[in-house]
Symmetry: C2
Subunit: 535 residues, 2 copies
Amino acid sequence: MTLTGHSLIAGQSVPGEGKTTFAYNPATNEQLQPAYTLLTEDQLRAATSAAAEAFASFSSLDPETHAAFLDAIADNIEAIGEDLIARAGQETGLPQARLQGERARTTGQLRLFADVVRQGDFRGVRIDPALPDRAPMPRADIRQRQIPLGPVAVFGASNFPFAFSTAGGDTASALAAGCPVVFKAHNAHPGTSELVGHAITKAVKDAGLHPGVFSLIYGPGSSIGQALVADPVIKAVGFTGSQSAGIALMRTAAARPEPIPVYAEMSSLNPVFVFPGALTGDIDALAQQYVAAVTGSSGQLCTSPGLLFAPAGEAGDRLAAAVGRAVAACPGQTMLTAGIANSWNSGTEALSAAANVTVVGTGTPGPTQNAPAPAIYGTEIGNFVSNDVLHAEIFGAASLVIRYSSAEELVEATHRIEGQLTASLQLTEEDYPTVAQLLPVLEQKVGRIIVNGWPTGVEVGHAMVHGGPFPATSDTRTTSVGTLAINRFLRPVAYQNLPQELLPASLQDTNPWRLNRRIDGTVVQADSAMADTGN
Amino acid sequence: MTLTGHSLIAGQSVPGEGKTTFAYNPATNEQLQPAYTLLTEDQLRAATSAAAEAFASFSSLDPETHAAFLDAIADNIEAIGEDLIARAGQETGLPQARLQGERARTTGQLRLFADVVRQGDFRGVRIDPALPDRAPMPRADIRQRQIPLGPVAVFGASNFPFAFSTAGGDTASALAAGCPVVFKAHNAHPGTSELVGHAITKAVKDAGLHPGVFSLIYGPGSSIGQALVADPVIKAVGFTGSQSAGIALMRTAAARPEPIPVYAEMSSLNPVFVFPGALTGDIDALAQQYVAAVTGSSGQLCTSPGLLFAPAGEAGDRLAAAVGRAVAACPGQTMLTAGIANSWNSGTEALSAAANVTVVGTGTPGPTQNAPAPAIYGTEIGNFVSNDVLHAEIFGAASLVIRYSSAEELVEATHRIEGQLTASLQLTEEDYPTVAQLLPVLEQKVGRIIVNGWPTGVEVGHAMVHGGPFPATSDTRTTSVGTLAINRFLRPVAYQNLPQELLPASLQDTNPWRLNRRIDGTVVQADSAMADTGN
């Protein structure tokens, strides 16, 4: 299809009345057509108003219509075919195989949320039946369900043009919860966003839903984002990006007359802890895996490891040397934008200029623009603990190897780091006692703990947590990946003594949606013999 | 036991080094002994430090030890006997029967959370087993559980000296989640707080727990509360009280280097909607029930109805007249403090001075101090919609009867009100079509909808929601009453590829705690035949 350069507001193609912007191919720094016209704040209101209008009908859809809609988005994205991969490649510099994998993750995620909608446990049905004979006071019939919060603002991320963008995890989980979405495209990949936006809009139309269920907006930098979060219609925010932008949105949301939750996934150093036992194995393989995790997707993953704690001593020296050799063999890959490459340069300059930081190894610059040589630095744990500069995230292919001499030092350093998405542990059985000492501290610092693996490659499943204490995210009670992410957009409502005719379908005695229900505190599964006798 | 007037920090009786304060009997305005010594901010650190130290062991207690500890608190509160009711009566002016009922609710709540701990669903176990043969990439074993956030600050409420105070719902749910609690006593009932604080401290000691699991602190007004919420050790806040105090805590929590969640339950008008069908029944009974709900506990309940929407016309006139007669028969009851009685006087003066507000009826002043005559006012719905003064909560026995002429007016007025804890509907079958029109709007405004009942008398069960959109609470995703309240103090952590020896008990294959588990997205109950084959 031909790209229009327009926003998609409630099914309508709307040219922006503000300035225009272009995407750039980061491999060549060439401008890409067409021009994207940016909305004014006044124009934004059309999207939020339509979302508000769509809420009542969309939030009360029957499960099958609702789930089929999510499936249709996935189908429509696949139907775009190779045009989508090609445009995303031009706009992001990411290689084709990575983009194909990310597209599969994105459509898989939509279909997983369709399953979640069909299965229905997210509705959180709880029924405490009436006890008319209870003394001293009878108990009324009380039923609870989770309802969607309202229209949600979602911000596209630079580093995942599909999986954390237009139809990515935030959009999929918000739509699954029953919340209309106003999506603010990342200006680095507007064409990719438009293609996916049309796929969603078509699904909305084909399902006969209110067109306000989805809007895709292009706007100037952060100002339209702030206006969107401040709009009284919006009831929650999903964001993946920088700490400064995330914190700015948190502040705007907290300062509203009605504060709203912000789910911002912001930054993470993703420390890796190598225990002595792990150095009794194949040190070269360990080094190569680490360097692959650091440099994959040019290091532009939320979970790229920015820190590796390695033992002092001879075996640790061998690991550092192997890391140096491994990274030396790595050419730079195109980064997402010239601005991101510049930030990487500033970050690595600051790190290499810090006292007592050495170079463990560097790769070679890539053949394209914006493809700096990967770089791995080294320091001692005492230096790391005492110098804040060494705790700053460098987005891109850079990492810091930190040498430690004792378990106590590791525990102290772990207390010292900020909240992170992940921590990874390389270990063997001999390390269990040391690891057991570190685990309770780690649990307070991260959302996911990995043994003998690497943090990149986030699985989209039921048990995944892609979250963690601030500043990794704005809300440690949640995850932005996996089926639990739907809970971010729900709130409980109780219904006391409502006649069956007035109860929502999910709470009716006949259980027309075949939901599992917590009856008097005990889960009664829809397919169990008790299901029809519970109430 | 003899009251000491000291804080209880990690099991130690600690005299405050700041000023002193006294409780007053609001029925007589007489000072009560002993003097309560207030902590300085420096002294506060002893409580938060101890809570931090207690966290690791308390958060990993086995279910039975943990649950028995909560049961023991309930037992110890009952063992105080009538001394507790007597002191609470002196400090609050609340009648004995009400206090006995509230004590039973409080101990029942503790035992209910003990059951929740034994049952274990709050641990949120999810297991996605490894799929080593999956193409193109194998899946690692990923397991998720909910862990406690960390030490929690809880603020006692003025109006529930037991159920929303020292061992009230916030404390009970935080302790059940595995979070140590630093409890800031309300200065209006310090003696009651001390008695209950000793009951908790004894349970901590008898169970052999770290003494930092619980501290009870007395401090000057809001300053010590702000210092407590700003303390980096504290990871969440539970509060019940005024909107201004709640919002101040929200701001402090949001401005911390690491923002934390605040669960503040603040204010609610609890509108009641009388539909025409309800006026075909016993109008006098309806009026009496309404007035009883308005005046019970001197109107000092979070859920006292502050608004009643009644139809215009003859039947509505009869209801208003009956309300007037019913309230005329009501003597004032002692309010909690002289300050609260003064605020009630200011609030009712402002309301009665507002344009187009009439007096529907007033009671008589009570025989004690601080026992103003209950008052019910009236106005037209157009006046209500256009005048913000009529939307202000008046804490105490006052309410406003609002006359409406059409369902459309009701819908418009509902859109206009702020977030509330409850809405109550008086109706018969003929009203269903009108009610069905209003319900989706109400769901966006309140946490609980009640049919043919009254909002007071909050049931502590599994399906209860005592929450609602801002400004009823600070966080509409939660409830402060009922078993779902435990979720406020939990966050998910994922464990990828951990050996059994390093997994927490709740996630081990052998399921030693007999927990229900969500395996690959499907709940497998511990007692089912599948439970041991799931993984």
